[in-house]
């Protein structure tokens, strides 16, 4: 038996019996992914598109009901563009750039998330997590039709695992009973309470925040603005905070801070929730409750994201508070980082050392996310009198003085991580160039011809980008053919973001669109070296 732990919103991969369940010896797969949440599905899609045989096991048969994540960041959309499913997300999603912060009844300030032109994708869209996952699965189906070696098995529950030298043996429970399979590599994308992590006896250290938040996703027709509205100490939730945010399908996310000592059951009674909602939106607007839940949160991380042939990605490796929308957005950066490395090692193009860099780079990213989301939590939930003292002082000052604005912390929204100090980075050959395109940074989008730069960097391997500088007709790097993109730029955003004061630049760009190295001119030797470094062949 495989018990359902939650209700599904969409049944996307109903259980079907497969041949593996009847073979006398366990069948071996290159990559087995435990968990078909956004991270597991994203990884399967990325690996499948690279021709890597991978199998997703999920203990349910579809996407869980109830939207947890709603805010998807620009970098996530760019990753999904690379994976082929950015468009349906942006088409369905609600685009927003403006945030407003209130205290009591008055607005204390407003901010624009992306006060910068020249990006294909907006700073954020709001989209219910079930849709996000559905679009990933739909793209997997399209890729399967084109021959991508991905398989999804619903109602397949991992129950135990044994690591061996060259594979991992998995015990899987199904509605037809247990069976075994082998995996060359296992990626645990099984969420914050990761059973894989438990089975391996690995820790998940961090901090629990003593606070409760009530989420009420409601459906209503209302002409509230498409903005993120955040309240400190509003009349309808005295002494606490509140958040209002629009989602597709006339659904709105309302989030009420509640403090630590609450009667969960009483607070979850629909009538009680409805009266809270009316306090916020007024008595006159009709609405229905779509999904409600009370959550508490913690900020935790595993020590190591790699244990031999087992990798941890997404919430199984690290968990953050929801403030800043860094959970799923961070998890998608794990996918982006791990897929090309696993593919390169499995294809024999890179040594095992490349996989080590997954832990180094993504732990760096996770710690940055944890730091930011913990700071927000400390601002919202003062833990001692001094915290409250300074928070109130900041809020007192901000109404009159601009300087206090950056001190208000209602969420530092997810931005992609730059892998400074990564072992995969080449020494910066253009140190006077713009800091935002230094080695380790994700490529910043910019208009290019009729489209955008990132649209030209979606192919599989590495890309050599040259700006105002000629490349040889056929570039070979460390014995590999490499795709090139030669462009001209002057006085435009590409020049501003990639050249600064330099007349020309050559950049080596990784498959995950991070900069591996940059130079003022084409230099075959430096490039060979940088490529080897970026492939973990040091």
């Amino acid at each position: 038996m495989v018990k359902a732990r939650y209700q599904t919103a969409f049944r996307l991969y109903p259980y079907e019996k497969v041949a593996d369940q009847d073979t006398p010896a366990p069948k071996r797969h290159s990559v087995v992914i435990i968990g078909g949440g956004p991270v597991g599905m994203g990884l399967a899609l990325d690996l499948g598109k690279k021709g890597i045989d991978c199998l997703v096991l999920d203990d349910h048969d579809g996407v869980g009901q109830g939207s947890r994540a709603i805010c998807f960041a620009k970098r996530t959309l760019e990753i999904c563009d690379r994976l082929g499913c950015g468009d349906p997300m942006v088409d369905k999603g609600v685009v927003w750039n403006l945030g407003r912060v209130y205290r009591d009844e008055s607005e204390i300030y407003a901010f624009n998330l992306l006060p910068e032109e020249g990006h294909k994708r907006p700073a954020f869209i709001n989209l219910q997590q079930p849709y996000f996952e559905q679009f990933l699965v739909e793209e997997i189906r399209r890729q399967q039709a084109k021959g991508a070696p991905v398989e999804i098995r619903g109602q397949n529950l991992l129950t135990s695992l044994t690591q061996n030298d060259d594979h991992i043996l998995l015990d899987v429970e199904t509605p037809d009973g247990p069976y075994q399979i082998e995996a060359e590599y296992l990626v645990a994308c099984d969420g914050a309470s990761s059973p894989t992590r438990e089975m391996m006896g690995l820790g998940f250290g961090g901090r629990v925040f003593e606070d409760n938040f009530l989420i009420a996703d409601i459906k209503m027709q209302a002409d509230f603005p498409t903005e993120r509205r955040f309240w400190f100490d509003p009349p309808f939730n005295r002494g606490e905070t509140a958040l209002m945010h629009k989602q597709p399908d006339d659904v709105w996310r309302l989030d009420f801070q509640m403090g630590w000592d609450i009667d969960r059951k009483a607070e979850l009674a629909p009538e009680k929730i409805k009266s809270r909602v009316r306090g916020m939106i007024g008595e006159d607007i009709p609405f229905e409750l779509v999904w409600t839940s009370i959550y508490t949160f913690r900020c935790c991380s595993m020590e190591e994201y790699r244990h031999g042939r087992v990798f941890f990605a997404g919430d199984s490796a690290h968990q953050v508070s929801p403030f800043g929308a860094r959970g799923c957005n961070g998890g998608m950066q794990d996918v982006d980082n791990l897929a090309w490395k696993l593919a390169a090692v499995i294809k024999g193009e890179a040594p095992d050392a490349l996989l080590e860099s997954y832990h180094i780079e993504r732990k760096h990213g996770a710690l940055e996310n944890i730091k930011n989301s913990s700071r927000t939590a400390d601002f919202l939930t003062p833990r001692n009198p001094a915290h409250a003292l300074f928070r109130d002082a900041v809020l007192d000052l901000v109404e009159k003085h601009d300087f206090a604005r950056p001190l208000v912390n209602s969420g530092r929204l997810s931005v992609p991580c730059t892998y400074d100090d990564s072992p995969l980075n080449a020494e910066d050959g253009l140190p006077q160039g713009p800091a935002r395109s230094r080695p380790g940074s994700p490529v910043v989008d910019a208009p290019l011809g009729d489209g955008f730069l990132l649209d030209r960097l979606k192919g599989d391997g590495f890309t050599l980008l040259s700006i105002n500088c000629d490349l040889p007709a056929d570039v070979e790097v460390a014995g590999h053919h490499i795709r090139t993109l030669s462009i001209r730029a002057e006085g435009d955003l590409i020049a501003e973001r990639y050249l600064g004061d330099a007349p020309a630049a050559v950049l080596l760009i990784r498959p995950d669109q991070h900069v591996a190295g940059r130079w003022p001119t084409y230099n075959a030797r430096a490039l060979d070296e940088a490529f080897n470094t970026a492939m973990g062949r040091t």
């Binding site: 001094a386 300074f390 003085h401 950056p406 001190l407």
Partner: protein
Amino acid sequence: MPDLILTPNLEATDDFYEALLNAHEGLDEADIHALNARLILILANHIGKQSVLEEALAVAGA
């Protein structure tokens, strides 16, 4: 022209705020007051200029 800077000027806002809160970790009310008094005196000395300090006092008291 007033000399007191009232536009954002911190080099690393969030790092500073975290350090400020950390400095208060575990203190009782009297110790919090004492710490803040010392901190104000140290920063005042660093600023030095009387007109700026008087303006800051006025802004904080307003």
